[in-house]
Symmetry: C2
Subunit: 470 residues, 2 copies
């Protein structure tokens, strides 16, 4: 609850129109894209300037009111659920591209800019912003930054964190700071930029982002390969890397995902086969072609049952769009779809896919697996029904085992989704209790009153996936 | 001073042989590669295992004895001067390459591995570790990590911080932690890896480093272009980028540097010209060739007086070696050589070189400028004599103005050397007093007793370049 007199201080900062607290408005901000998490905020504020953010934070900090910064809410870690109430700070009005600097190859944007809008704007100038998270048509750059979002081009180009060069941010105290900038090289003190990236709104509110751009690759070539088993697909990925080829994209789908995607997109995939790789190479035409031909050879040598190069770029784009639709397609199957994010070193891919299959079998669950094979980044996705309490308990147990397996194989509990509420339970597996304790102390350095997105990443008490209602 | 009874606790941890405290030994660790800074440690300890480091830190932390982690001491920011005495922790015995993982394209090494030794080891397997700081034949990977070292390949490939995937580190409390690993994607909590990179030994002691590798480029092509003025050289760099070409290396030398390097290496450079660019492109042969031809055209169009492609790879290598020798060559001219590290966004390069010339003139100093033009990373280097107090005061003033100029142009006070003691005076220009305060609080989170390399980056009191003797 926010006292009426505090509301009266907050409203004039943004104007009545941008201060929301009717029941239906609060309900709309009680959830994000993560299934089964929900909690009502006390207010939603939509600031439009850094100064407004600073004024809001000063008041919130003084009265110890929680602040939950949020973009489009497409995250899959329940990172923007207002689990302790407070103010959801909707940053969507920071939606301007301030500058695309073609000389320094940077873009400076508000955190509310939609990822795909940035893609379009820079590509129109022959430039390239590689990070392409699954939700890019809705997600914001601020959200991508906050979660450390990945995508399909991580292997060759890296992920969001590799493209954030500078930030303007506001501390809970209301102080406005800057870090990084347009310099390719900069080692003036600790890397605050990188510390804020992936911090899920637990440290500060980011109000401006400077991004690195690249020249747009000249062409793209796409190839699909189908396999009678998982091991051959994984071995193909290994052999491509061993041949010193780094493709732009190497996506994996298992048979379950292939079936659902094929039904959704009408691709005519050979559904009798067990797995498929979708591989893209970009660059100068000759080079992309040379690599794709060599990759096709490697796939055949590694036992692919069928290898097909896309004849046109439209055909290539269609295949990629179909892969992007995997989550949507799977979501149609059952009332609740839980998409997870287990990552292993690339060389352990086959083992990890095997573990997911074994664990799904053990708990009698329907889990399809797809993901970014080149990065060892898998998305085991469970089709279930949250109303079936007994099954949900099995789902919990199965995912706990999946994360333990990925850690055992040298992997991590989240490759590109973040920790939020959804992975809190497992963070110690990766960073240890001492690592969590150290992160907690770093948070204190930014946020001594614990107002920034409290209860996320390493909350004290509650550590179970559950429906939160207040 | 370390009390004799504490020395008696420390010695058995590493053995007498690796505990140094004779006057001549202490003297050898009283300086690093930064001119004009010196201070004696109380002891030098050379541990050989993480457990030994942990035991030493526990004792040091209990008795609040400073710990200065150090590799080969090639840093140019006075980051390893034991300015408050204490224990220099020489990490050179951690000099093993533990693993080169050709499947995951990673190398795991001790922090004491020499940079060039790693280059050799991975290149023998057809792999590539791009960071190539000037001191790479002597410097260690641990030192590179600690300072966030750069090099000549930053523009296309990034710098050290972009290649550190995982660390093992020891907190002052003696706790042993790990962060990151071999996963291409990993967002499990705050990015501790990147926070430790460039922290100059002020947070923890790093005992193991996992590095990212790339496939070794197939070929390299080298080109030199000479200009009658500075602006044309800078414009050439801009136009190359505008043509969507990202060369592996774009090095700049002014006339002063050209003369000295030519005398040193006997290259027969056209010394009547004012500046030169040394450009390298790597990749598949056809592509490297295509880019180099296009770059030669751009240089000519931008007014280059002379453009020459290296005929053989030996000729190219010789040119690059000569550029690498710039600091050594300049060091022969006068008793004291102060090499600085001012960085601006690439588009401000010409202005920055102009500012350095203007400021050198104003203070009647001999300053040569060379550096990584593609990164906007310049090394204005002053030939002086530390015994000439009056001149040194002018040097101080000139560099202060140079850093102010680089900040004014959107740049930073250090691109690849770090802050240490040498840049402490200027850090607030880049990150602000609030930024420094925040970094200080982050340090507290790691090092509540302030034992880790105290007095560096953001020390409280002393902020002037001076000879420190105890």
């Amino acid at each position: 609850m926010i006292a009426p007199e505090i509301k009266q201080q907050l409203k004039p900062i943004v104007g009545e129109k941008w201060f929301l607290d009717s029941p239906s408005e609060l309900y709309a901000y009680s959830y994000d894209a993560t299934p089964m998490y929900q909690a009502l905020p006390d207010a939603v504020i939509m600031p439009a300037s850094t100064r407004e953010v600073s004024e809001i934070l000063k008041i919130a900090n003084r009265h110890k009111i929680s602040i939950i910064p949020r973009g489009s809410g497409t995250n899959l870690a329940a990172s923007t659920i207002p689990v302790q109430g407070g103010i959801v700070l909707n940053m969507n009005r920071f939606n301007r591209i301030y500058e695309i600097d073609t000389k320094n190859l940077t873009a400076t944007v508000g955190p509310g800019v939609i990822t795909a809008d940035l893609h379009q704007a820079v590509e129109a100038l022959g430039l390239f912003y590689p990070p392409d998270p699954g939700s890019m048509k809705i997600s914001t750059i601020g959200g991508n930054m906050s979660q450390g979002a990945g995508g399909m081009r991580g292997l060759k180009y890296g992920v969001t964190k590799d493209y954030i060069m500078g930030l303007e941010y506001v501390l809970p105290s209301g102080e406005i700071l800057r870090c990084g900038g347009k310099n390719v090289k900069d080692v003036a003190g600790y890397d605050m930029t990188r510390l804020l990236v992936g911090s899920e709104g637990t440290l500060a509110v980011v109000t401006e982002i400077t991004l690195k751009l690249l020249p747009l690759p000249e062409t793209k070539r796409t190839l699909v390969a189908f396999f009678t088993n998982l091991v051959d697909a994984a071995r193909t990925v290994e052999k491509i890397i061993a041949a010193k080829i780094i493709p732009a994209t190497v996506e994996f789908m298992d048979q379950g995902t292939m079936k659902v995607v094929d039904e959704y997109a009408g691709l005519g995939l050979p559904l009798e086969l067990k797995s498929m790789l979708l591989i893209e190479q970009d660059g100068p035409e000759q080079l992309a072609l040379r690599d794709i031909e060599r990759i096709a050879e490697i796939a055949r040598e590694s036992g692919a049952a069928k290898v097909e190069a896309a004849k046109t770029s439209e055909e290539g784009a269609k295949l990629l769009t179909a892969r992007r639709a995997a989550l949507s397609a799977l979501s149609r199957m059952k009332p609740t779809t839980i998409m997870e994010d287990a990552t292993v070193p690339r060389s352990r891919l086959a083992e990890m896919v095997g573990e997911v299959e074994r664990i799904a079998g053990k708990y009698g669950l329907q889990i399809c697996t797809f993901g970014h094979a080149g990065d060892g980044n898998l998305h085991p996705t469970c089709m279930t029904d949250e109303r079936n309490r007994e099954e949900i308990e099995r789902v919990e147990k199965a995912f706990a085992e999946i994360f333990q397996a990925s850690i055992r194989l040298g992997g991590t509990i989240t490759g590109e989704h973040g920790v939020g509420l959804a992975k809190m339970n497992y963070l110690h597996l990766k960073v240890g209790e001492s690592g969590i304790e150290l992160m907690r102390r770093i948070k204190e350095a930014f946020d001594p009153n614990h107002i920034m997105n409290p209860g996320k990443i390493f909350a004290a008490a509650e550590r179970r996936r559950l429906v939160v209602k207040r």
